[in-house]
């Protein structure tokens, strides 16, 4: 098998996979641009699976966004701003805290480390539903209800999943880099900030994207903790939109809102892709 054939086969396999992966999304886009009648028919499937919209109705988007919340457009702007604020804070908090704790678990010797690490792994197995009500009680006793604090503050205390991920990555960084920095006069915090964080760019990119997407799409959290109308997030708005406009006759609007909700995630993904690929650790040792 020649080199060229190999590449061709790889490309072919990836193309087929990509088409399968993207079709539902493409379909979503198509339906969001169709007329209400054709969108309803396409959603019912069958012969009318559309690959291209018959006629593009951009107005679906403005119509859909206008209907979020009580006041035209304001509901959308409020939800957008809230989503951005919450998501940005959570991403920053998660990256900082998880990398710090992951660093400690990977590279600092202290008694109790193994035990705590095991406890942390165990917390990942706990279904979120278990702690929902007790957590609500905790936040209420802290007086945090109807603020964004219950959604944002826990992120600054690390997330087990990402701590684990950082720990696995940092464990692969050469010990001598850290020793060199120690000799260069940096404490553990300085080493984390100046050596570990910059070297963890790929895992930070992954963490940022995963967190962003999760928080951006999460609606149960905001639903429980945010009461006031103007505190609604975009995901919450999408969910109530689904319930209010769930019928076939409104499929085009539902899909339009879904597409708008997706856009920031898609943009972020493309922007961070380079960091994924750089694999900056490659030049660290020996090379």
């Amino acid at each position: 098998m020649g080199r060229w054939t190999g590449r061709f086969l790889v490309g072919l396999a990836l193309t087929i996979g990509s088409v399968a992966m993207l079709f539902p999304l493409w379909w979503m886009l198509v339906i969001s641009l169709e007329s209400p009648q054709r969108a309803g028919a396409a959603a019912e499937g069958g012969g009318s699976i559309a690959v291209w919209p018959e006629e593009i109705h951009w107005s679906n988007y403005s119509e859909a966004l206008k209907q979020i919340g009580t006041e035209p457009w304001q509901g959308f702007f409020d939800a957008l701003a809230n989503s951005i604020v919450i998501t940005v804070l959570v991403v920053i908090g998660t990256v900082l805290s998880s990398s710090l704790v992951g660093f400690a678990f990977a590279r600092i010797n202290f008694r109790g480390r193994k035990f705590m690490f095991l406890v942390m792994l165990a917390t990942m197995m706990l279904p979120a539903q278990v702690t929902m009500i007790p957590l609500f009680l905790v936040f209420r006793s802290l007086g945090w209800i109807d603020t964004i604090l219950p959604l944002v503050i826990p992120a600054f205390f690390g997330s087990a999943f990402f701590i684990f991920m950082y720990r696995q990555f940092i464990a692969q960084i050469s010990e001598s880099l850290i020793e060199a920095a120690r000799i260069d006069g940096y404490g553990m915090l300085g080493i984390w900030w100046r050596i570990i964080l910059p070297m963890c760019k790929p895992v930070t990119a992954i963490t940022a994207i995963f967190t962003f997407i999760f928080v951006w799409n999460d609606f149960l959290g905001p639903l429980i903790y945010l009461h006031s109308d103007d505190q609604s997030t975009l995901a919450l708005a999408l969910n109530s939109f689904r319930n209010q406009y769930g019928g076939l006759e409104n499929v085009h609007l539902l899909m339009a809102v879904s597409v708008v909700t997706m856009i920031p995630c898609v943009v972020l993904f493309f922007a961070a892709q380079r960091a994924f690929v750089e694999g900056i650790g490659a030049g660290a040792v020996k090379g």
Binding site: S176, L177, I183, D184, G185, G187, P198, I280, A282, G283
Partner: protein, 379 residues
Amino acid sequence: MANVRLQSIGKTYPGGVRAVDNLSLEIADGEFVVLVGPSGCGKSTTLRMIAGLESITDGTLFIGDRQVNGVAARDRDIAMVFQDYALYPHMNVGRNLSFGLLRRRKYPSRLRALFSGAYRTHRREERRAIADRVAQAASVLGLEDLLDRHPRALSGGQRQRVALGRAIVRDPSVFLLDEPLSNLDAKLRGEMRTELRRLHRQLGATMVHVTHDQEEAMTLGDRLVVMKDGVVQQCGPPAELYEHPANRFVASFIGTPEMNFLEGVIEDGSVFVGEGHRFALPKDRWSSLSVGQQVTLGIRPEHLALATEGDAMFTGEAEVVEQLGDRTDVILANGNRRMTARIASGSGLREGDSASLRADLNQAHVFVVGDGENRVETT
């Protein structure tokens, strides 16, 4: 610059492994000391204890006049060069060099510089000073053109130089070098050795160098410390170690090709008998030998020569003949017994030929069997 004093230093790892035992050593100011030994001998641990990267279980360590047992690595005023160089991959060479200096700034805050003119001036001066030192270190090592590159864009030799530069730029009282040359190819290694010597002379700094390569150790060190299993075997200038190895281990570790050893017993009249040989040792050299003593006789290959019939000590077939230009290394085999000899070139000896060797027994070493095979001192 400072001297380093290790007093009965020991290291026991949490698992109970004794890595270094009762090590005492005094390194003079400006001296180049090489810790050498096979892997696992505790040399790296010793170095890391000096650096402060490894805690000291017992004994005391002084750098200068200061006892530094509990002092953090960053406060010991040392610099270390690592085997894998440990260059920060996300910083360019210039940043790598200045990284250790930035930490020691007196005027680090950018925020305060916004509001205080005097602070800003100091800060600017300080930054200029750092830049000067980086430039100076770069010029010493010829790194001027590489300052903007990242480590991954450098060759092995260049990285090595940057790693040295990072140590130099900090102007520490002690340099610690942990097998810095072992990742280089032979030619580069040779060049870097010369460079290290030159640097040492130029800087006049105290340097502690760790290597498992005895040749590197011999060429670099003012003084060598040979270690085995966490214990110092011998300590002294290269020539002394070569000429007066304290025991059989040092004797075999120092010098290439390795010393030849014969096991035997002393008979009356300082006659050595063993492995089918029987010859008289110069009586006046080892007056302390007693009859019936079990000994090992050590003869360096360069003290063997091709023999004419009468004075042959060993006869065998030339198994390997290595032409080194000015001299030739020969391994003669006789049954299971092998002797390595370094002889003058031009003998015409070829592999498969039969040859005899004679020894310059005045240059031989005698080690008493048992009790660590210590060398018997000549009178």
